[in-house]
């Protein structure tokens, strides 16, 4: 096993933040491994998975819907079922929702405009494997860039998720019509998370913020722990 935990980044046709994600993961201590979506298996030593941003399959039908049926996603489902950490960023979040690995769905922004700017988000739950390098209530500045980022779930689901701490990140302002200003959610077992902001674009103060590095470094911690548990 290499000293750096392997984080698989699944590349779909139309992904465009896969290499940014790989670079950023490398910068926070991971050994990134790009995995083409037709691969039926993840690399054996995979400690965590990132589903990157982009426009998989040109966003045809619904964002993330077609990518959710890729062979690599079957491998990701098995990995998640075994407790492996999975982080979906932007289009990756959309794919996780369409795969039903995460609750809810991402809908077109209410203002029907593509939003591309820094967003301030609040860490609602710092007690997750993805946010444990953050303080509870910490404000993070991470860029968003999406046209379909308005998270939606029925009211009952939303109330239940909030009560269980599954709403992990919220925007500090309404950026896209997202229900409850939700920016990121986690599954019930706490190993699959999706968020619309792009932590991979915020890992160096030179890029305006290094706050995204907190999330990615926590993911790398989780990857190391998962790989160790499997070894």
């Amino acid at each position: 096993m290499s000293e750096r935990p392997v984080v698989a980044v699944v590349v779909f046709p139309g992904s465009n933040d896969d290499r940014d994600a790989a670079w950023a993961l490398g910068a926070v201590g991971a050994e990134p491994a790009l995995v083409w979506h037709e691969e039926p298996e993840l690399p054996l030593e995979t400690g965590a998975v990132v589903l990157p941003g982009g426009f998989s399959y040109g966003d045809y039908l619904r964002t993330g819907a077609i990518a959710s049926l890729s062979p690599a996603m079957d491998a990701v489902r098995r990995f998640a079922k075994d407790g492996g950490p999975v982080l979906g960023i932007c289009n990756g979040f959309q794919i996780l929702c369409e795969s039903r690995l995460l609750p809810g769905v991402l809908r077109p922004n209410r203002q029907l405009e593509f939003v591309c700017r820094d967003a301030r988000v609040n860490v609602e739950n710092a007690d997750t494997i993805f946010t444990r390098r953050c303080a509870p209530g910490q404000e993070l500045v991470i860029p968003i860039k999406h046209g379909e980022g308005a998270w939606f779930a029925d009211q009952g689901t939303f109330v239940q998720l909030a009560a269980r701490g599954q709403i992990v990140l919220r925007y500090l302002e309404d950026v896209n019509g997202s229900l409850g200003n939700v920016a990121g959610v986690i599954n019930e077992t706490g190993n699959v998370m999706g968020l619309m902001p792009h932590p991979e674009h915020a890992v160096d103060p030179l890029l305006g913020s290094a706050d995204g590095g907190l999330l990615l470094a926590a993911l790398v911690d989780a990857a190391a722990a998962h790989a160790l548990a499997l070894a």
Binding site: L61, R62, A65, I66, L69, E98, G104, V105, R107, P108, N109, R110, Q111, L112, F152, A153, D154, G177
Partner: protein
Amino acid sequence: MKATVVVRPKQGILDPQGDAVQRSLAKLGFDVSTARVGRVIDLDLAADDADDARSAVEKMCANLLANPLIESFEIHVDDS
């Protein structure tokens, strides 16, 4: 066998695309209070009869063509 699926944003679900269409129609002078934008999917499929076709298309809708959280669908089977 031919079948058509009409997918619509569920009632009560915000449809910003429909709202934009409604506003544009109003700009053109049309007296339209609501517009909702969905999608139509025409299928050519192998099936023994209309019932078979319908049950296959229902599965397609559940697995891919519609997201039940936000969309409703109608299936029309052409067995002529």
